[in-house]
């Protein structure tokens, strides 16, 4: 059985105390939320922090606040999110994303903040220490070369968070808190297109809460490509949200997940929809535009050419759902579930 390395464990009871602990040794301290990503990674020695600061005991990180929009504490578990009827009704894309993360067991432990900060993934990196030693390691950890593209100056590990594309499409922001203050950034600005330095969060910052704007007039959806109906990370995802005036799109956002080291905002694709009705032709145009910006690499499940190719299909599914088509049968085939009930 794989064993965790030795580490020091801290469980502060306030955000301020957690921020102090983080500020003391930011280079060797890591935040532990649900642990569903970090702890297996530590067993594989992908991360070897000296100190873990747990967020479990901090009540303020588990709050849900309603105002003009919605504020979600970062330590809310994914299961808790999936059990919120208001989320399913008002922010369907986020709800669908959360409901398709990993497995029921992992959603019971994993948190929203944890999913946003999820380590980037790669078939050359998400392996045991012994396996990585057999390829002389890689750029992301202990090595020099990116084996995905050996001439690449940057790491090409893949952004594999489900909730980030959904939150970006919904125009959400996050509040980052450190011992020296706090700041709010759009979720879209939380990420770099760099598999190693994939977060703009500073090492001493804690992602405290997620703020969603009022849902008025917006519809949203999330489509996820993965081999199986459970367990797997996305290898392509499409988050789409649009505000309508009757049948006409006033404003839209389309975000692609798992095709780069950060979520990709498909601006031209969204612009193609503005002021138009979602006819088949308009959807095809937007789908083609999104296809152009998808740049998957050969480091996940499925062949990259095929992953890029089906970007068109997945954008089409998403936009048809926003248009009001009954997509349940397609959803059942793709997701192996209809994503309708609150059976979580």
């Amino acid at each position: 059985m794989m064993r965790l390395p030795r580490f020091e464990y801290q469980a502060p009871r306030s955000l301020a105390a957690a921020a102090e602990l983080l500020a003391a040794r930011p280079a060797t301290t890591m935040i532990l939320a649900g642990g569903t990503d970090l702890l297996p990674n530590m067993k594989r020695r992908q991360q070897t922090p000296e100190v873990l600061v747990s967020l479990r005991q901090i009540a303020e990180l588990r709050e849900v606040r309603y105002g003009t929009g919605l504020s979600l504490g970062s330590a809310l578990t994914l299961s808790e999110l999936v059990r919120m009827p208001t989320l399913q009704r008002d922010y369907a894309g986020l709800w669908q994303a959360a409901a398709q993360i990993a497995t029921p067991h992992l959603r019971a432990m994993g948190t929203l903040g944890g999913n946003l900060c999820l380590d980037t993934r790669c078939n050359y990196y998400d392996q045991t220490y012994e396996w990585r030693k057999s390829i002389d390691f890689c750029m992301k950890k202990d090595g020099r070369i990116c084996w995905v593209a050996t001439s690449s100056p940057t790491c090409l590990a893949v952004s594999s968070t489900d909730t980030a594309p959904a939150l970006i499409s919904l125009g959400a922001a996050v509040r980052l808190v450190s011992a020296s203050g706090e700041r709010t950034v759009n979720v879209a600005d939380l990420y770099n297109n760099d598999g190693i330095h994939y977060l703009t969060r500073q090492p001493d910052e804690i992602l405290a809460d997620i703020r969603l704007p009022a849902p008025s007039g917006w519809r949203s959806t999330y489509w996820k490509l993965r081999r199986r109906g459970s367990f797997d990370f996305p290898v392509l995802s499409v988050a789409a949200a649009a505000a309508f005036d009757g049948d006409t799109v006033k404003k839209a956002r389309i975000v692609l997940g798992a095709v780069a080291s950060r979520p990709i905002v498909a601006n031209p694709s969204a612009l193609a929809l503005r002021g138009r009705r979602l006819t088949d032709d308009v959807i095809a145009e937007a789908a083609d535009s999104a296809y152009q910006v998808a740049k998957p690499m050969d480091n996940t499940d499925f062949a990259l050419v095929w992953r890029k190719r089906v970007t068109r299909d997945f954008v089409t599914y998403a936009l048809r759902e926003l248009r009001g088509d009954d997509m349940r049968e397609t959803r059942r085939k793709i997701a192996r579930q209809t994503m309708m009930g609150l059976a979580y």
Partner: protein, 827 residues
């Protein structure tokens, strides 16, 4: 007891005897064992694919706080291996590593974490050798040799067998079909990782608890590799959390910790992690196949010539048997008057392949059933009707001398055709939707043991207690398939008591008589027959005693309801426990034994040891699919499957095995791949498993499972216990070809390899759109320098089961096949 006799327990759905312990978490698996003063071990595995070991420095590891012992290849001079002809493994590699994962050192420490830290302190200096990633490379380069004992260069084994003049058979056909197929390798994926505990008992003997399917063979391997008498070794098979063939070899970790326990005189546990389970492998061989089949216009087969090329990985394992199995069972489903089989297994620098559920037969079954679908289309015959026309007859000796006893295949086909409404739905579901049909057969136990001997293959001992309880001892191993339940059910039925009155003691070489192990679907048939014999002998003793005491003629006594009584006056009788006491007072301690030896095989040629079985099971399946024309995405809403079980001893278990087979079959058909990655060779020599984890090695989840409609066809077989045949492996086999055939019905492209992925479907659709052959699959079979073909005239050409061109001396020495060690062991 007659196969179709009336029964009280046999045939009724029952809760399995080990079910309660399993669902309440009380079953003690190997990793649950904790002994006083127990230490923990880990293996250092090679990080390079092929190299000589120049030096190993263990000094720093030995000095690490908490480390008790470090062993290396020097400590294990004697080889072992599951087959007498492939004694090619060392517990730890002494001089050469052959794949990434080959064990080179064992560290024993206070705990796993410490042992793991010490692994990183061992310095191994490797001298790299050329690496072989696939069969084409191994065929092209004889040097350096991965094993010196291979047939030639890096070709482990080449065989060629001909049963009648296949060229003449193809010449008289109206059509000859020539197709290439590829079946990708995949692995067993048992939920329980291999684990073992070794200890020295109070009187100084070695005890090994292990999650193994074959404690008897592990017992023999330990005695050989450690050079200590088998009588001083006890192997206890703990209940396996799934096996599927992956725990059928003696493994490095078992031998290594046994040696360490002997040296340290302390218990030692080792639990492999998931990656190590992928590296132990012994799973499905990747196989390239060429099928040349001649047919008449009415569908009659005139001859089949099959060639297979197996990627064996780095060691022999069961590979010689696997090679023969790729060609053995083509003849038991459909009548093939002339048949030739050429098989070739090569060594490569990857984890060794071996037996996985279906052992060597799913690959060529896939090719045969997909080709039959193509034949049916060309001949404009319904695929179900075609198969019904050519299905083999019962009580037949096939071209390759396999004795078919009962055959319920036609009934299986009719059942799935009816249940799926095949006749009104096949080719009529419209674009993107389709149905596919395929059939199969599998052995109910290998007719020959792995090492040559004349002794029984399975034995059961019964101890009858004055309390009315019975203990049944058998070497069989419970791997989740329900063998303990079969043992208890058979004994309870004969003795007229309840399953709960019986305690099963199984898989313990000190306590239980030998059963060869849970492989080749042999346990229900062989152990079941041994159990019936033992129970009938015990019943006979009790009947003598009760008859004498009550003055009732023995022949009138009935054993039922925990009583022994007069059939003509049920009030005259006594309880079962009183019957035991009466017998014990009259004759002394009451016990009995029973054993089973399969019938002699008719196949007398070299290689004929693989394929014979007391009887064969049959299956047919229809699968419905929906395929998206843009993405190639496949959805499987429904599967209908019928299985010729002979007789279902416990239908609950049988259905479980059938549904489990559908699950595993869909995994192999749609997604599972044990595949490897080379890095750019100018930068790296790496050759690694692409994704040795349960996350990235894709296997279906419950959400991915279709609705399954299972039909059991019961044609009691005279060789089976109460008429039963196997069910553990056969129902897997039709799934992969039925899926491929359904994809063709849905979208008009042939995917001639598994897994059938959306990428491949999209590529085949592109071929179709470009006006080329609407197909995805292999396009060439590499040149193999086949050996001289053994000519064995089939029974209907006056054959005797012997080869006409096999030297008499060798025929005699190797009678029954290549697996007899008497001569091979000298090599």
């Amino acid at each position: 007891m007659k196969p179709d006799a009336k029964t009280r327990i046999i045939g009724l759905p029952r809760r399995r005897v080990d079910g309660r312990a399993k669902v309440t978490g009380q079953t003690i698996f190997a990793d649950d064992l904790v002994l006083p003063r127990m230490l923990h071990a880990r293996l250092l595995r090679s990080t390079v694919p092929h190299a000589r070991i120049r030096a190993i420095d263990t000094a720093r590891a030995e000095a690490h706080l908490g480390v008790h012992l470090v062993l290396t290849g020097r400590d294990f001079p004697i080889t072992y291996g599951i087959l007498p002809v492939s004694q090619d493994e060392h517990a730890l590699c002494p001089d050469t590593v052959r794949f990434v994962g080959d064990p080179v050192a064992l560290v024993v420490a206070n705990d796993e974490l410490t042992a793991g830290e010490a692994l990183d302190l061992i310095a191994v200096e490797y001298e790299p050798l050329r690496t072989f990633a696939g069969p084409e490379e191994s065929l092209a380069h004889p040097e350096p040799r991965i094993h010196d004992y291979a047939d030639e260069g890096n070709i482990h084994k080449k065989v060629s067998l001909s049963f009648g003049d296949v060229r003449a058979g193809l010449a008289e056909a109206d059509h000859v079909f020539d197709d290439l197929f590829f079946y990708q390798g995949n692995t067993h994926l048992p939920l329980e990782q291999h684990a073992a505990v070794a200890a020295i008992d109070g009187d100084g003997k070695l005890v090994l608890w292990s999650s193994t399917q074959t404690p008897h063979y592990v017992h023999r391997a330990l005695a050989k590799a450690l050079a200590i008498p088998a009588a001083h070794i006890r192997v206890i098979a703990t209940p396996n959390g799934g096996g599927f063939g992956g725990k059928s070899d003696p493994f490095n970790h078992e031998v290594a910790i046994a040696k360490a326990a002997l040296m340290l005189k302390r218990p030692i546990k080792i639990t492999l992690n998931r990656e190590e389970v992928f590296l132990c492998h012994r799973g499905r061989h990747p196989v390239l196949m060429r099928f040349r089949t001649g047919v008449k216009r009415d569908g009659t087969l005139t001859g089949v010539h099959l060639q297979t090329l197996l990627d064996g990985g780095a060691y022999g394992s069961y590979g010689v048997a696997s090679t023969f199995y790729t060609g053995a069972l083509q003849t038991v489903t459909y009548h093939i008057p002339r048949y030739q089989f050429d098989g070739c297994r090569v060594f490569t620098n990857k984890p060794p392949c071996g037996p996985k559920r279906g052992h060597g037969t799913p690959q060529s079954r896939f090719g045969q059933e997909v080709q039959l679908d193509k034949i049916a289309e060309r001949l404009r015959i319904d695929p179900a009707e075609l198969r019904l026309r050519i299905v083999e007859q019962p009580d037949t000796l096939t071209a390759n001398y396999l004795r078919v006893s009962t055959i319920g295949l036609a009934e299986c086909i009719r059942r799935v055709v009816n249940a799926s409404e095949w006749k009104t739905r096949y080719r009529k579901l419209g674009p993107g939707r389709g149905l596919g049909l395929a059939c199969s057969s599998y052995l109910s136990g290998a007719g020959l043991p792995i090492y040559w001997n004349d002794m029984p293959h399975s034995a059961v001992q019964l101890k009858l207690d004055r309390s009315g309880g019975v203990t049944a001892f058998c070497g069989a191993t419970e791997i989740g398939q329900g063998s303990d339940d079969v043992l208890v059910g058979c004994v309870a039925e004969i003795l007229g008591i309840e399953p709960f009155d019986i305690r099963a003691v199984t898989g313990d070489t000190d306590l239980t008589p030998v059963d060869l192990g849970s492989y080749s679907s042999r346990v229900t048939l062989m152990m079941g027959n041994a159990a019936i014999q033992a129970a009938e002998r015990a019943r006979d003793v009790l009947a003598d005693a009760v008859s004498a005491k009550l003055g009732v003629p023995k022949g009138r006594l009935v054993f039922a309801e925990r009583r022994v009584f007069d059939a003509e006056d049920p009030s005259r009788g006594m309880s079962f426990s009183d019957a035991v006491c009466t017998a014990e007072a009259m004759f002394g301690t009451v016990g009995s034994t029973g054993s089973y030896t399969p019938p002699k095989s008719a196949a007398k040629y070299k290689g004929g040891g693989v394929g014979p079985s007391p009887t064969y099971s049959y299956s047919a399946a229809v699968i419905e699919v929906e395929v998206d024309g843009s993405t190639g995405w496949v959805d499987v809403p429904r599967v209908w499957i019928a299985h010729d079980i002979g007789r279902a001893l416990n239908p609950t278990l049988v259905r479980g095995q059938v549904e489990g087979s559908v699950y595993m079959g869909l995994g192999e058909a749609l997604m599972e791949e044990q595949i490897f990655r080379r890095l750019p060779q100018r930068l790296s020599r790496a050759l690694v498993h692409k994704f040795p984890s349960m996350l990235e090695y894709k296997s279906p989840t419950f959400l991915d499972m279709p609705e399954i409609f299972t039909e059991l066809v019961e044609t009691p077989d005279p060789h089976g216990p109460f008429g039963a045949k196997e069910v553990g492996q056969g129902p897997l086999l039709p799934i992969m070809p039925a899926l491929a055939n359904a994809v063709y019905d849905a979208i008009g492209v042939r995917i001639d390899e598994v897994p059938i992925t959306p990428e491949k479907i999209v590529k085949a659709l592109a071929e179709k759109a470009a006006g080329r052959a609407p197909r995805y699959g292999p396009t060439r079979f590499p040149d193999v320098n086949w050996p001289e073909t053994l000519q064995v005239p089939p029974p209907w050409e006056g054959g005797t089961g012997k080869a006409t061109n096999e030297p008499e001396r060798r025929t005699k020495a190797l009678e029954g096949g290549p697996l007899r060690p008497a001569e091979e062991a000298k090599k």
